[in-house]
Amino acid sequence: MSMDKEMQDSFAMFYGMSQSLKGMVEPVEMSDDERVSKAKQVFLNKINRDMALNLEACVHCGLCAEACQYYIASDDPKYLPIGKLDLMKRVYRRELSPFRWFHKLHTSDITADDLREFQPKVFDECTMCGRCSMLCPMGIDIAEMVHVSREAMVEAGLMPSELDYMCREQDGEGTIFGANEDLLNFRLNDLKEKHGVEIYVDKPGSEVMMLTSGLDIHLFTDALLGTIKALDHLKVNWTLCSHAFEAANFGLLAGSDSTQKHVTMRIVDAAIEMGVKTVLTPECGHTYPAMRWAAAEMSGKPLPFEVMTVSEYLGRQIMDGKLKLKKVPGNKVVTLHDPCKVGRHGGVFDEPRAVLEELGLTLNETESNREVNFCCGGGAGNFLVQSAAPVRKLGFDNKMKEVNNTGAEALVVSCGSCRLNFEAGKLNSNETIEIDSLAALVGENLPD
């Protein structure tokens, strides 16, 4: 299903809004010494045993470049993944490594100019997709350390202004793109009126707490509707929480520890307060690792509820024989995008494929799929960052080469920001492939 007129209009408005965040917040004023000191403090605090092992283990083989979407698309060595860790490595070698006395003799200290030079390397030029780690012969987890490098930039006041704006909005209003409780209620009532679905907000005794996202409230309403319809069809006892419905976590994307914790704990506290058994994250890729893996760490204890993303939840229902779907007519051929944060960083591979099979769709896999899938090109918040536009295009074109080779009529995706990036990529290219939401497909094909 391609975008209808209403969604096209919403897309034009939303895309325009999302691309005009630059400069909405003032740059952070800080002395150079303070920037260096704060960045170093992050490295010193965050480097753990795994990272130390990784930083010691690199053999300078350069193979990680051969897995990087941006290097593959450009042959430009500046995208070399391990090169993005240079500052972190220098701080480690000088301050923390077992032979620091030796390394101090030949390793220069980092400077504020180094930080400014590396800012685009760890933001614009890396989506922390983690594909490089799937090739590294030494098993180095580069994405994890790029995330710490982003944290260092954040503390040094060098976060891209678009992401800074998003973090400040999440810290202050608890929303993204202004999608507050009023707008949520408007959207829910709209869906109720047009589609006759039952909506539950703050319903006591619910078993499943569903999250949504500003992206779905503003734009991808079909994904929100599909999830609601499926839950209603399955007679799940579900609810949204009026003060903890926003799933997006720009703290995790941007590397702001405090925002990540703030956003995470609002959801965790609400879920505990409501006594739900399951928190269901929407088609919002990075929400999954934020809640599925990092939330327990942020809480300091195991979570008293399980976390599932919608593609995982619906796929499990099908695999367990609890959900049957109508077959999509016409032997439609599709391909599937495994969002990095849900797939390679989440382990959700079989469930979305079970959904496609149940829908009677023919799945032609891209050459790189599952744990070695290519990023959409604009992950980790880069879809909002203006200066990242050229590399986003590189990533999009690289991804579309594989997509087009499948001969598929549609690309199915279960991540809103990937979907947005694909739709936006189409605007600047000759690509016309239909982009479908997995949850929307389920919602449209529920048995009567």
Binding site: N48, A57, C61, G62, E66, P77, K78, F99, D141, W293
Partner: protein, 216 residues
């Protein structure tokens, strides 16, 4: 004391001491860092996945083979050649027997010598590749070239000594032993430490990904 006596005696002994102490110090230094036990619910068996990745990472995932297959093959052949010459050349076995009291069957010189020659050629190819590849030009530092040279020396001197080429045999043998000492001393201070770190590093990635139900 002749040069050969020095190479066989104090040089080798000190090299072994520095090697063992240095490797231990670097390893313990890494182990001193904290690693928290994850609090989330695992999706897969991290331990098993970790062990799997130690071996599976010896070959790249099929999707990467077009881009890196050649380099992986050269790298693998080089490592096999190096280990083969190190452990199956008769005089090396005699050396290990003297050191550890253990011995095993060796392989004829007519096999070991060509393997050593090919291994050295592969190392030269790696050197040329590092000088010319655009990515490696950006990535390489002096340590990479020093390491290549220090790794090549035992092979080169060993071949020359065995073939009785160059200086008199005793001198070449002494130079060969000294180059091995240099190699041993360089391990803890350089990327040659990967000889030791490859196992825990791969295992940790495999375990972290396996925890999430992902094969690494």
């Amino acid at each position: 004391m002749t040069l050969l006596d020095f190479a066989r005696g104090p040089a080798m002994q000190w090299a072994l001491i520095i090697f063992v102490a240095g490797v231990s110090f670097r390893l313990i230094g890494i182990l001193m860092f904290v690693r928290k036990k994850p609090l989330s619910v695992p999706r897969g068996n991290a331990r098993l996945a970790g062990y799997r990745t130690i071996f599976s990472r010896a070959m790249p995932n099929a999707v990467f083979r077009k881009r890196v297959g050649g380099r992986y093959i050269v790298g693998t052949l080089w490592h096999i050649g190096f280990v083969f010459v190190l452990f199956f050349f008769q005089p090396h076995i005699a050396f290990f027997e003297g050191l550890l009291g253990l011995s095993w069957p060796g392989v004829a010189n007519s096999v070991v010598m060509p393997v050593a020659g090919i291994t050295l050629i592969l190392l030269v190819l790696a050197f040329i590749h590092r000088l010319n590849d655009p990515v490696l030009k950006v990535l390489s530092d002096a340590g990479d070239f020093v390491t290549l040279a220090i790794t090549a020396l035992p092979l080169l001197t060993g071949l020359l000594a065995s073939a009785h080429v160059g200086l008199r045999y005793e001198t070449m043998l002494a130079l060969h032993l000294l180059s091995i000492s240099l190699f041993l001393v360089w391990i803890p201070f350089s990327k040659l430490m990967h000889i030791v770190l490859v196992v825990p590093s791969r295992k940790r990635l495999g375990a972290k990904m396996g925890y999430k139900g992902v094969k690494a």
